[in-house]
């Protein structure tokens, strides 16, 4: 049946609908710059949204956990082989995405006999000059770059709203605590937007407010901080930093 171009296009379109529907419940991951590096964070019912990929690169994921895991392993393999065979300086998020994972994801998506990856990925990097780079990649291999922060979410409307709101704020001038507070406010607002869009009105287990999210879910967050003493500049948010955020939202 796929010899006919229309049938193939129809099948691809159906796959888009299928993946988008499956992704819909994916909780947002936000990445923003701050005055000493960049911050990536999100709330989720179970840990597994934010990961370290290499010395100066981190990953955020939305979607099926097994698919996020498989792509994370691919990124880790590529990064460590490149770092071993050449140099840590040759491991960049652009190379990992543009020449590595994006073409493979696109091919996978268009081979309609294979199961598609149900994922959206956010790759962030603080480059050797201390400049943050933000990349967002879709399940079909399409990727975009941003200078001032970005977000991924299961729901495209939420994702687009977060993207617009992030651009409105001077995150790069904020301290880490400020950036975390402001980004959390955006996360909170986006939850309301998400609930408003819930046309079916069906009940789900998603927290309505940020306080509920703190109580019921996990806050996962990390920074890539220029002032790190280690060559691997990724570090998870400390308990103190999370507690300060928690008390600021009450």
């Amino acid at each position: 049946m796929f010899e006919e171009p229309y049938r193939w296009m129809e099948a691809v379109s159906t796959r888009h609908n299928y993946v988008q529907e499956k992704l819909k419940m994916g909780q947002p991951v936000l990445a923003v710059p701050y005055n000493e590096g960049l911050l990536i964070f999100g709330f989720a019912p179970q840990p597994g949204k934010i990961y370290e990929i290499y010395d100066r690169i981190a990953l955020g994921g939305v979607g099926h956990p097994a698919d996020v895991e498989r792509l994370r392993m691919n990124l880790l393999d590529m990064a460590h082989l490149e770092g071993f065979n050449r140099s840590a300086e040759d491991v960049t998020s652009t190379r990992l995405l543009q020449f590595g994972i994006a073409p493979a994801l696109k091919q996978n998506f268009e081979e309609i006999q294979r199961a598609p990856y149900i994922v959206r990925l956010l790759l962030v990097e603080l480059n050797a000059q201390g400049k943050p780079n933000f990349f967002r990649m879709n399940y079909d291999g399409h990727w975009e770059t941003f200078k001032n922060g970005t977000a991924i979410a299961g729901d495209e409307k939420v994702m687009d709203w977060l993207q617009r709101e992030i651009q409105k704020q001077p995150f790069a001038t904020y301290s880490l605590d400020q950036a975390l507070q402001e980004a959390s406010k955006l996360w909170n607002e986006s939850r309301k937007l998400d609930s408003d869009n819930d046309e079916d009105g069906k009940e789900n287990d998603v927290p309505e407010t940020i306080q509920e999210a703190f109580d019921q879910w996990y806050l996962e967050g990390a920074v890539l901080a220029e002032k790190s003493l280690s060559k691997a500049i990724y570090r998870p948010l400390s308990e103190d930093e999370i507690n300060r955020l928690k008390s600021s939202t009450i």
Binding site: Y51, E52, I53, Y54, R70, M73, N74, L76, D77, H80, L81, G83, F84, N85, A104, N108, R114, L229, S230, K231, A232
Partner: protein, 266 residues
């Protein structure tokens, strides 16, 4: 990209990843002449001992080929991860390769498994690499004598391991040294530890650093392969520590001051 469920592994094994990429250290070692006379450059003296905050690691910077000095700025103390240092005497080509593999291995494991490798795991991985170097090292061509110093964040304890060329590991509770000048250094360290003002493990960082500098002077003065010290031409030994804050190297300025203090006999 997709594998079968039967092929599923826990992951985190960098050797497996290297194998899949076609890298083969063993193949390279197997091709080396087994009975060749060793004129391969060799690193000379490195040492490590416990002090009150952790472990001091020091080494001279020379590479010798027989009685010829091939290089005088070699860095024989190599960071493996944020809490581990490897100090090597022996053939730098293999030592550097081992350190490169280990460094990627520990980080790859930590990132894939989202937790650091256990101390025992690190020790065994190091041992495995040395065992793979077995054929070549018994011929004398690529012999490596490493010291592995690390700080275990879980237990809050520093530790030092010395390896023989067959890959057996020995935990050192006080001090160790390896390389051409090691015999002289061990004698002095034993004296310092037994009859000095305090046991080495109770010395402060400054005292420990000065002792390390003095020891490398001793090795340079007494060892045939090292002969005169290079302090006159401002090439200082490498000095580092591993503590609960990770590893740290002394800067060139700090070494200049330490060198002066160690010469004064303080």
């Amino acid at each position: 990209m997709m594998g079968n469920i039967e092929d599923t592994k826990a992951g985190g094994d960098f050797f497996d990843l290297l194998d899949r990429s076609g890298y083969d250290l063993q193949d390279f070692l197997d091709k080396l002449p087994v009975n060749g006379k060793s004129t391969v450059p060799q690193g000379t003296t490195v040492l490590a001992f416990h002090y009150e905050d952790g472990v001091i690691v020091a080494g001279d910077r020379r590479i010798m080929a027989g009685s010829n000095m091939m290089f005088e700025r070699c860095e024989k103390i190599i960071p493996i991860d944020h809490y581990s240092l490897m100090a090597v005497a022996g053939v730098p080509a293999i030592a550097f390769e081992i350190s490169r593999i280990l460094s990627q291995y520990f980080e790859y494991y930590r990132r894939t498994q989202v937790r650091p490798m256990s101390l025992e795991g690190k020790i065994r991985t190091f041992s495995k690499l040395l065992k793979e170097n077995l054929t070549a090292s018994t011929s004398g061509l690529t012999r490596v004598s490493p010291i592995f110093s690390t700080y275990d964040v879980e237990t809050g304890k520093p530790s030092i391991y010395y390896y023989d060329m067959l890959g057996a590991e020995f935990q050192v509770l006080s001090f160790t040294a390896t390389g051409a000048g090691a015999g002289h250094i061990r004698d002095v360290l034993e004296r310092e530890n037994q009859w000095g003002p305090k046991p080495l493990a109770q010395r402060c960082e400054k005292d420990a650093a000065i002792i390390a500098m003095k020891l490398l002077h001793v090795a340079a003065q007494l060892d045939n392969e090292e002969k005169k010290s290079l302090a006159d031409v401002q090439i200082y030994p490498i000095l580092a520590s591993v503590t609960e804050n990770g590893y740290k190297f002394w800067s060139e300025d700090q070494l200049t001051r330490l060198e002066a203090m160690s010469r004064e006999g303080n």
